[in-house]
Symmetry: C2
Subunit: 395 residues, 2 copies
C-alpha cells in the first residue's frame, strides 16, 4: 500500500543503519566492550564545552519567544550574519546574511538545494565511492543520478571522466571533501581542473552547472592539510555545511547553505531555497541550537584526538597486513578487502565482533569503510581481533 | 534556471510569510507598538518554565554524546516510550515506542507520511479552508490535491461532499482539528460520519484510505471542549503532532507521528516512514529538544491566557460590527470580510496598521484570518483601529 519508491527502500535499507542495529544486537550478547563497531559516523567525542555553556546562557538570558520561536525561514538574521563573517575571516570571502540559509543539517541543505534546482530528468553527477543517500536525495526530486568513478589509485575525482559524463541535462555535481568514505581531501589541482571542465561545458551548452559541495568534514583535516574553499574556484558553487562532526552535534540537525551572490540567478535561487526549506517541512533550522552554534564559531572538537585515532587504527590495520588509504581528513579509513567480494569479508569480520560497512554501500565493491570517530580504547581492544581476522586470510 | 515547480512558488510566495515581512517593515516606520500584526501563528507566550529547566538539567547531567548524538532515525526509544505512555494515559490507547516516530515538527511528520504513502497521481483530499502548504506537501510527492469545501455555516467537514470526492486513487485525507484557520473543533459526530464514509469506500474499492490528522492545536481547546482522538474512531489514522503551540516551541521543530499497530500494513508503513525521515534529509528530530519535551509531557502553555485573548478579540471585533466564527480551539479567529473581495479588505486594514491574512490563502475567499497568539496589550491597542476600519465600511 505504500509508495513504490519507498517499497524499494524498505527492501534495501541502508546497510550502514542495518549494521548499527546489528551492533546493538551483538553488544547485548557479548557485552558492548567486546564489540568493535566501526560502522557509524556517530562521533564518540563530546561537543566542546562552549556549546553547552552557550545553551545555558541563551536559555537563561534570552527571551523564550525569541529562543524557541519562529524566525524567517532562512534562519535568524544575526546568526546568519555571524556565520558569514566567520567564513569571510577564514576564506577572504565577502558573504553577508543574504548568502546564508540555516538548515536542518547538511542533509537538509542538500535536499533544499536539489528541490530548488531539479526538474524531473535533470542529471546530477556523483563521484563514486559516494554516500548512498545522495542517490535518494536526487531521486526525491526525480532527478537522474550519474555515477562517475574516482581515480582508483588516488580516489581523487577523475575530471576526464566527469567531462565525458556531462550532458545538456547536467544540472549539478555533488562533491564531498574531505571524503566519506575514503578520507581523501580533493586537492587544489583537482578542484581547478574540475572548475575548468565545468566552465567549458557551461559555455558549450549555455547552461548553469552547479557544484553542490557537501562539507560536514571540513574542519577535520590533518597534517596541516588545507581543504580548498570552492566558491573561490568556481562561482556556481553551493556549500552544504553541518556542525555534526566539527562540534559533535549530529543529533541536533544544524548546518547551513552558502549561496554566493556571484551564482547564476542568485536572487531566484536564494529565494527559492528559502521557500524549499519551508515546503519540504523543515520550516527552519532548530532555533535554540542555531543561536548556540553562532556563539561557537571558533570552537571545535578535539581534532588531535581524531588524529591520534587515525594513526592508531591505520597503523594497527597495516601492521596486521591490511591495505588502507591513509586518510588526510574526515574520520574514515577506506580499507581494501582481502577478497574480491567485500561482503564476504564484512561477514567474516562480524565473526570477530568487528562491524564494518561494505564498499557496495558506496557503489565501490572490494573495499570496506571504518569510522574511527570511536573511543581509542575500542580501537586498542579491536586490534587483536583484526590480527586474527587477517590471519584467516593469511595476510 | 531553477525548477519549474519552485519557480511557481517563488512567484506566489506564501501570503502569510509576505505579511510577516510586511509587519517588520511597518514596525520600522511606525514603531512596533503601533502595528497590529495578526498574521502569523508565532506564539507570543513563553514556553512553560519546565522546558528550560529540563534543557538545563539534561545538558548538566546527561552525556554529551547521548544528548547531541545520533540515535535511531525514529528517535530515542525512551522518548518514544514516554510519548506513547502519555497518550495511553490520556486516551486509553495501547501505544508503545513502536508506534511513535519523533519528527521535525508536524510539517516534517506530514512530509514523511506523504512520502511514505504517495505514488505520483495518488489523490489526497483536503477540507477548505485549509493551510496552504498542504498543497505543497502533496505536490512534493507528485500527488494530486482534491479540495472539498467545508460546510459554509459550521465549517465542519461536509461528509457528503467528501463521499462524492473519494475515488479509486484516493490515498489519504488530511484533516486539522482544532482547525487553522477557522478555530473549529471537528465534532465526534463529524468524525463518526467521516469514518463511516471512508470505511464504506475502502470496502468498495478494496483500498486503504488513510486519515492524516494534523494536530498542532490539540491542547488548545476551550470551554471544556474535547478534541476526539481519531485512532479510536478509524484505524487507518496517522496523527501528526507538534509541540510548537502546546509548549510554544515553534522554532525548535519538534513533534511526532503516531502510527497505530492496527493500521493496514502497519509494519511496512512504519519502517518506510522511518526511512523517509532519513532520505528526506531530516535524519531525526533534533536530539536535545527530543529529550526535553519527553520530560514536559504534562506541561503546557497558559491556555487560560489564550482563552482570555480569544474573548477579548472576539468581543472587540463583534462589538465593532464584524462577523466572526467563535473559535472553540486553536488560536485563530475567522472573520467574514465586509466586502466580497477580502484582499481589498486586507489592504484597507493595512492602512490602519492591521495585518491580516486573506482567506484566499486558505482557498476560501471572502474571509480573513487573525492569529490571536499575540500579547493582550496588542489586542487592546488594536481595537480602536478595528473600530475605525469598521467605520470605513459603515458597520
Amino acid at each position: 500500500m505504500i509508495s513504490e519508491k519507498m517499497m524499494k527502500l524498505v527492501g534495501a535499507n541502508s546497510a550502514i543503519r542495518v549494521m548499527f542495529e546489528e551492533g546493538r544486537r551483538l553488544a547485548a550478547i557479548h557485552g558492548s566492550e567486546n564489540v568493535y563497531d566501526f560502522s557509524l559516523g556517530n562521533p564518540n567525542f563530546p561537543a566542546p564545552p562552549e556549546v553547552n555553556a552557550a545553551i545555558m546562557d541563551i536559555i537563561t538570558n534570552e527571551e523564550s519567544t525569541l529562543v524557541h520561536g519562529y524566525m524567517s525561514n532562512a534562519g535568524y538574521e544575526d546568526v546568519r550574519e555571524a556565520v558569514a563573517r566567520s567564513l569571510n575571516s577564514r576564506y577572504g570571502t565577502d558573504f553577508g546574511h543574504g548568502n546564508i540559509i540555516m538548515t536542518v543539517g547538511a542533509a537538509g541543505g542538500m535536499n533544499i538545494i536539489l528541490k530548488t534546482l531539479l526538474n524531473p530528468g535533470d542529471e546530477v553527477i556523483v563521484i563514486a565511492p559516494y554516500f548512498v543517500d545522495y542517490g535518494n536525495y536526487v531521486d526525491n526530486y526525480n532527478g537522474k543520478l550519474v555515477v562517475v568513478k574516482a581515480d582508483p589509485h588516488t580516489f581523487q575525482p577523475d575530471t576526464d571522466a566527469i567531462e565525458k559524463a556531462v550532458t545538456r541535462r547536467t544540472k549539478a555535481i555533488i562533491i564531498n571533501s574531505p571524503n566519506n568514505p575514503t578520507g581523501v581531501i580533493y586537492s587544489e589541482g583537482t578542484i581547478r581542473s574540475l572548475a575548468a571542465v565545468l566552465e567549458a561545458k557551461q559555455k558549450e551548452y549555455g547552461n548553469s552547472i552547479y557544484i553542490i559541495s557537501d562539507e560536514p568534514y571540513r574542519e577535520l583535516a590533518f597534517d596541516g592539510a588545507e581543504v580548498p574553499w570552492l566558491t573561490k574556484f568556481y562561482k556556481n558553487t553551493i556549500v552544504c555545511y553541518s556542525w555534526s562532526k566539527s562540534l559533535s552535534l549530529p543529533g541536533e540537525r544544524i548546518g547551513y547553505l552558502v549561496i554566493p551572490s556571484e551564482l547564476d540567478d542568485y536572487e531566484t535561487v536564494f529565494a527559492a531555497a528559502v521557500i524549499a526549506n519551508r515546503v519540504l517541512g523543515f520550516i527552519n533550522a532548530p532555533s535554540l541550537i542555531q543561536r548556540a552554534v553562532a556563539r561557537c564559531l571558533d570552537a571545535q572538537v578535539n581534532v588531535a584526538a581524531y588524529d591520534a585515532n587515525r594513526q592508531l587504527l591505520f597503523n594497527g590495520l597495516t601492521d596486521a597486513g591490511f591495505e588502507c588509504v591513509y586518510p588526510s581528513g574526515g574520520f574514515y579509513i577506506w580499507l581494501k578487502s582481502p577478497v574480491a567480494d567485500e561482503k564476504e569479508f564484512v561477514a567474516d569480520a562480524k565473526n570477530f565482533n568487528i562491524l564494518l560497512v561494505p564498499g557496495s554501500s558506496f557503489a565501490w565493491p572490494g573495499y570496506v569503510r571504518l569510522a574511527y570517530c570511536v573511543s581509542p580504547d575500542m580501537i586498542i581492544r579491536s586490534l587483536p581481533a583484526f590480527k586474527k581476522l587477517a590471519g584467516t586470510y593469511r595476510l
